[in-house]
Symmetry: D3
Subunit: 317 residues, 6 copies
């Protein structure tokens, strides 16, 4: 049904206008982040029977999200350099080194979320010499972090009490809470932000999914920061766009296998063979196939496996 030549590759989520320009029965391959999109955009996908595949939802065999992971690795690393920039005195900042000199307490970096963004941010923060605390609800993720970084990182269970306490003494707070296809919860409340040190820095990397800091709202690369309760907020949605060359290379590496599969076998066959690619499909032939999005916008869900004409054979021995 879908013609593979209609495949449209994009890097950042389509704007409202771009949604309007899509053709009937087109294949759209892009970051989508539909939970923070407008309902009209989703409706336009359904009406035009677009097959919309969100990079951020494609799963590898091991359950990871390989495309999102590359972007997360870039964002996590960038976050620390960006924080270091806003900690400088230049922009009326705290004048604090994101690093370590003997005999003096180093900058304190608090990371909410121990996923890919959190882990890569932790790696660079540790490598810079900061004092790093990572909070997550999942003990096994914290354990994994301790196995990788040994005793160079402090871990805490992400209870309200622990978050409030860590944020209060932080020079930098990195919001790195990403839930598959859902809005991020507000783990850092406005009351917590009020207790923070003057000119400390918040980077809310989960702003793509609504943000995990109550006071954050999306900003742009042109005007990346705003001040709220004396705290610098950096909430640019698509951080990797700031290192376009690296991001393009990384995205290409991660996308290539999927694009080749569609190009070689056609969309339907690719979706049949590749369960992970199927996971990325948000709309197909006029139906919403992602339960979380459907629920959010009050739509019906249909299973993509019911919509495809033939199913893959079971693998066994």
């Amino acid at each position: 049904m879908y013609n593979r030549s209609s495949l449209l590759l994009k890097v950042s989520p389509p704007t409202e206008k771009e949604y309007g320009l899509l053709a009937e029965s087109q294949i759209l391959f892009s970051f989508l982040h539909l939970p923070v999109a407008k309902k009209t955009s989703v409706e336009s996908l359904l009406e035009k029977k677009v097959c919309a595949i969100g990079y951020e939802l494609i799963e590898a065999e091991d359950g990871n999200l390989p495309i999102l992971q590359v972007m997360s690795e870039i964002a996590g690393q960038m976050a620390i350099h960006i924080a270091a920039h806003y900690l400088q005195s230049g922009d009326d900042g705290r004048g604090v080194l994101l690093g370590r000199i003997p005999g003096i307490a180093p900058a304190s970096v608090v990371i909410i979320g121990a996923g890919t963004v959190g882990r890569t941010a932790a790696r660079v923060a540790i490598g810079s010499g900061a004092e790093v605390t990572v909070l997550d609800k999942d003990l096994s993720r914290l354990r994994e972090l301790e196995n990788i970084f040994h005793h160079q990182v402090a871990t805490r269970v992400a209870t309200r009490y622990n978050i409030a306490r860590a944020v209060q003494f932080a020079d930098v707070v990195i919001g790195a809470v990403l839930l598959k296809g859902e809005r991020a919860p507000h783990l850092v409340t406005e009351d917590m932000v009020k207790t923070m040190k003057p000119r400390s820095v918040i980077l809310d990397i989960s702003i793509d999914q609504g943000g995990c800091v109550e006071t954050s709202r999306p900003t742009t690369i042109e005007n990346p920061v705003f001040l709220r309760h004396g705290v610098i907020h950096y909430c640019v949605p698509n951080i990797p766009a700031s290192v376009a060359r690296t991001a393009t290379n990384g995205l290409t590496n991660a996308l290539l296998p999927y694009v080749l599969e569609i190009a070689d076998h056609g969309l339907e066959a690719a979706l049949h063979q590749n369960r992970g690619l199927r996971q990325g499909v948000c709309t197909y032939d006029g139906s919403c196939t992602n339960p979380a999005i459907a629920k959010l916008f009050g739509l019906e869900t249909r299973k993509i496996s019911d919509l495809l004409f033939w199913m893959p054979e079971p693998q066994d021995i």
Copy 2:
């Protein structure tokens, strides 16, 4: 002769105007960097019989320069975060991540000089995931670096050929050549700069001592960079000033023992007892006591030990 209450503490080198405001027989305790000062400034120190002690020349017992070292540790760490900033796409930059994602060549950071600045810059660059090469003329310093960082850093002898080759493929070049009380040599020539990649970044941290890159010239925190041969040059002389809070703490820690010694025993006694403090004296009672500076400005040198009234007793068993 000198009254300890006349002690004037400064952080950054005096401006020409400030040199004019010094009192007769004052004790000036500051970063001086006289080799790049004007001759009139030096003459003013001599005429007013100021005892000028340069932080950057004070030696510890182990031959290190403890005050300079703290500032160098800050500058070295800042350098990598600053470079990361200018590698971003935002300012018409290369759009390259100063970090590492699997499967892609990371940014290449080349550091000229394996002293404190070079070593701390290397530490943060490695911690950020960059590919790091350090060049120095002294094999034993490179050996020491390999002992600290094991196989995470590449070292090369700083021959003209090796420098030219490394610079050509670099995303970032850090000039970190500091010679005690001398002008830095131009190890990176203009011809080498011409071969560099478009929008790669040079940070010349030795700009305090004249710079070790031929195309670099001092810039300011307000206008920190300029473009030459398509390469971004960052040449702010006093980088630690950008993290004023950390720099002040660090400087205080390092200076305190010397200030206490002068306050408790008077300047002469302190100079007698403390050979390392004596090393910092550039002018004393109208004479220039630092041979390198004297030579540079065509002045006579006198030994500080000849000018002091009494010498410390020899230590023995």
Copy 3:
């Protein structure tokens, strides 16, 4: 049907002659590497209704190949010491140290494939001080490597361009591409070999499966190397045989659980209970049970689960 006393244990794949000597309904437990065997050998297994189990195909619960893995760990480690030997001047070699002295570029080791062989080779190469690059098509394997070795290894996606580029500057190339039960693809082409440095060294460890370097062909322990386009090729198929004592200990440790299971319960029960052992069966009761081998030799495949008399009960709670 199969008598457990007919179990024949071998270390290296049977020769053609040895295939001829097998008894009717014998159990053959050995490295087989059938994809590079002759068709007559396979036919002989089928005619005699031999149950042939290939060590290299036995799977653990986590999907790893535990027997092959031990041999791969040995081969990967050996590879670096062997390469160091052939880099010496003695045999008209390059005269290059596979190691690192301060100030000089170390030997460059390029490893194609990030599986067990590649990872252990990388470990020893890093430990020896070489500059190590690993290429693989799978990003998540490269990511895993970076987690283990941190920034001591460079990783690249194994595109044709990246392989060509890495090989050109290598002192040593290790071919470590192993696909389960398939011929290895020629990732290093003859044209790439032509660009290599004089007397650089290629070790093709995937020669057991046909080799991943176009110019490689099997050699023997007696005549282990040949020269092609000025490059030394080492292509001995069974490298672990060179450290017989260690290999025997390692193999015994890994095989013991399987042998005990067959001895205690009989072949059929062992195959029923142990899905991983079942994976190793290539021929059973006159049928080929491995799809890849069947396809290669134009045979019919039957599922081993259809040939066994009773199936294990499903596990559930």
Copy 4:
């Protein structure tokens, strides 16, 4: 003058009674710790013209104290295991693990002094998973610690403010301040101890030299601890005695070269040749030869070099 057969080797400092038993012109080779001995003991050494050599004062060529260092390495390591013992619930303790589990703040260990005791204690504390802070007045020692332990240890300059702050949140405080031949200063005051957490643990390893915690007083192996302000104090003077086997082996290794030198060449020659051994001499031929001890007890000092009959020839090229 001294007969080498009169050499008396001891491990722990002589008791008052043992001082009484010394023979005329005997050579006493032992830990002495005279600054905390009674004046009568020193007088007895002088009257009997004993040559008393204190292990704790013998210097190696590099300025280290090799005998003391071995004992300090043992004491530093023991300290952490002892602290772990007293943190348990069993003895009405805090019930805190000296270690680390994911998601929970680990025990906080504060070490005053970055010498051998402090460094080895830090090593084991880090290895146990504790959160470790080391304070010292000397920036270069803290820097050295950061080079060894990278970012696994927090360092602070040992100001009164910093000590008070660290002690307040500590589960364990290790007093490890050793000054060559002087009484240790009271860096942790009684007021600071009062702020500590209930049933936290203080180990004052400098108790041999008077202790660096105001509330500490020597205890014994039989009654090792006492409670003061709710804080458990462990102040056993000779901690290595608790691991007698290891301590004896370690002491033997370190002493052997000195004993052999005296045995082979006689005391006078050994003292002539070996400047470091000379440093250990506290009394010689009825004179006190150690300035610090002489000052403490109001005695005259004579230089050991003046008392020896012949001096070593100067070494030169």
Copy 5:
């Protein structure tokens, strides 16, 4: 059927008396260790139709046992500090440092079992400077250990020969063999214990499950050790109880998600939704639902899934 308000939370296994006090249809949530309990206790659970859930059996999605794991992490770390205590001379011990000084063989720590207890014990033992050997039957677990600790740990396959050999030269033996819901096997025999060095120390952490050392029998915190064949045996069943504060925090973190799930949705729903919680159920509505326990006590097993009223829907795409 079960009322969520009847939930009884305990930390240590109920005593016989406590089993008697349980109410009809109560929910018991505790460490149970039924394989070493009395049959009457199990019968009492069945008669009263208690839903008994054993912390030690609850599984996470990845197959780990999250509650047990936290306790095991504590026990493994404690083990090394406890061993260090009993190696001291004080209690008529060996007088050996569990640590490392240059030039002397460090204490040898042998760990039987490479699970969570073994791994965390190894981590602290390595961090203390001991020479550490870990034995396990499972090669892949040993491989994982080598990946985490690199070359700081020796691994051996846990054959009778290897265990006998390692134990003979050990200063400390840690028994850390835990099988899910089964008695631990006696891997260290009495004959092996007889060959051990005088006053060496055995800690049998698997004593909860019957012990893996033939000579071990449960001891108490009041009388923790006994001497057998000259070897000190420490066999306190619930080691984490010695650090009550840490253990409580750790347990709370791990239990919280399960308790909340039961509190929010009721027991039945929680068991339906959460397969791992279901794994922990030993008795339900008068039936034994754990096959291993049923077998041990000669009871019938029923599947918990058959006893619940409704089953969760299959998840699919």
Copy 6:
């Protein structure tokens, strides 16, 4: 007196014939190793008034021997790869992997001497996965090794007992005892060699200075090994010659500063200014200036400082 144009640079020590070919008053700059040379060679240097400077004796300011050090770094690294080669089965060897696979005891490498050769050999041996023991008489060198390699290396004081014990269980023994300008002592006796395992491997790298193993005698690159008491002996004197390309680069880097100094200022001035270069002079103007060599050959020593026309001015402040 010496003409700088008469400077003769050599890499390996002159042969007897080459000594005969030297011109009157020539400057000879080479590895010399005179303690193992013939007396006639030394006499020829004296008669011809050659200024013979031995690379192996030139000292840096920190007391290291910079030229020898580079060669030692190469030899130490090569040693492990060479040992791995002779452990293989191929040459009737032990068939042992110089590496590590899980569950099996790795090869045991024993290194006698903790200088540069010993340290670099230890580094590669550790990196290869071997079990490494280093013995040295000097505790502080062993301590330094433990600081660099943490717990990955075992250290022992080099007593006869400890050496005998270590050698007995070794797969590889590396003799790395180098004394400045003296013959190496026979620390490994023939009796110890007799206890070694069949086909174990000895590499005596101190063979240049007479060897530290009693059974070793110089071999050649053509016939590098011989068998004695069943042990393979590898005693090629100039190991770095086997990696000529790397050795030449390394030597050039280290020599360049000295050659430039002689070329720029003439020999006498260079010797005056550079105390380290002076240390390398063995013969000068017909006199032997090295006390150790003079003693060995029964010659008179003269101080080089007495033979030079002018002495450098003292440096002071």
